[in-house]
Amino acid sequence: MTADDAKVSDETLIGRTAAGDPSAFDRLVRRHQAAVYRFARAAAPDGPPGDTGDAVEILRETFLAARRAASRHRDETSARPWLLALARQAIDRRHPRFREADLTPLRELARAAGWQSGGGGAVDESGLSVETAFAALPPEDREILTLCDREYFTVDEAARVTGLSDAAVRTRLHRARLRLLARLKERPHGE
């Protein structure tokens, strides 16, 4: 975002988009396209390596839906949660899924991360990098971590994007963090 661009609020850009100003829409896209891309990469199932076609399609659907709905969202002060909620819908259309309850007992997740089980190895240079550990998590975990620990969304905002209750957001976040830690402690293969 350039310094000039930063002076115009999301609210203004959404309002102008609703009024049919194509340059405002273009600026809204440029301001948020990388974040929508990162969210799509995190929340959608992994495709073939290097294939970005799915991400382009999710981005396109997200911003077309945003332009159509702009007039109903003139009072959004930050476009990001609204746009990621639209991206979530685009992902659901392309990758239909039913929500499975996460039935793994919390204690089991914690033990895999070393709790009450002798530590399970330290997090250090011999373990996986946080980037690799994150990429290896299931999409549901990557999604909630992206929203809460990368975008710094509030619980309310994360609930809006995912369609989960506030309580379910908090539970999922906690579980995802424990699985991330367990991954970080995994030794690379063959060691």
Binding site: R107, A113, V123
Partner: protein, 81 residues
């Protein structure tokens, strides 16, 4: 192998359930104070909390993945001007 116990009036299982809420500062002051007491007196929970905190910090510090130029180009083509 350690076993779960009660420290500062809290069972390890209760503390485990609240770790993320504690990390994010969403617990009441009284609850947070008791959890801190447990973490100080229980090696297992104390270590787990430290490691979860470090993992979250590392995740937060990762640089943002940039939008590949090819994706940006294809999106610009796909969106009617």
């Amino acid at each position: 192998m350690e076993s779960e116990r009660i420290v500062a009036g809290l069972h390890c299982g209760e503390v485990l359930a609240d770790l993320s809420e504690h990390l994010d500062g969403r617990l009441s002051f009284d609850r947070a104070e008791r959890i801190d007491e447990h973490l100080a007196g229980c090696a297992e929970c104390g270590r787990l909390f430290g490691e979860v905190t470090a993992a979250v910090r590392a995740l937060r510090q990762l640089p943002d993945e940039l939008l590949p130029p090819e994706v940006e180009e294809r999106l610009a083509e796909a969106l009617p001007g």
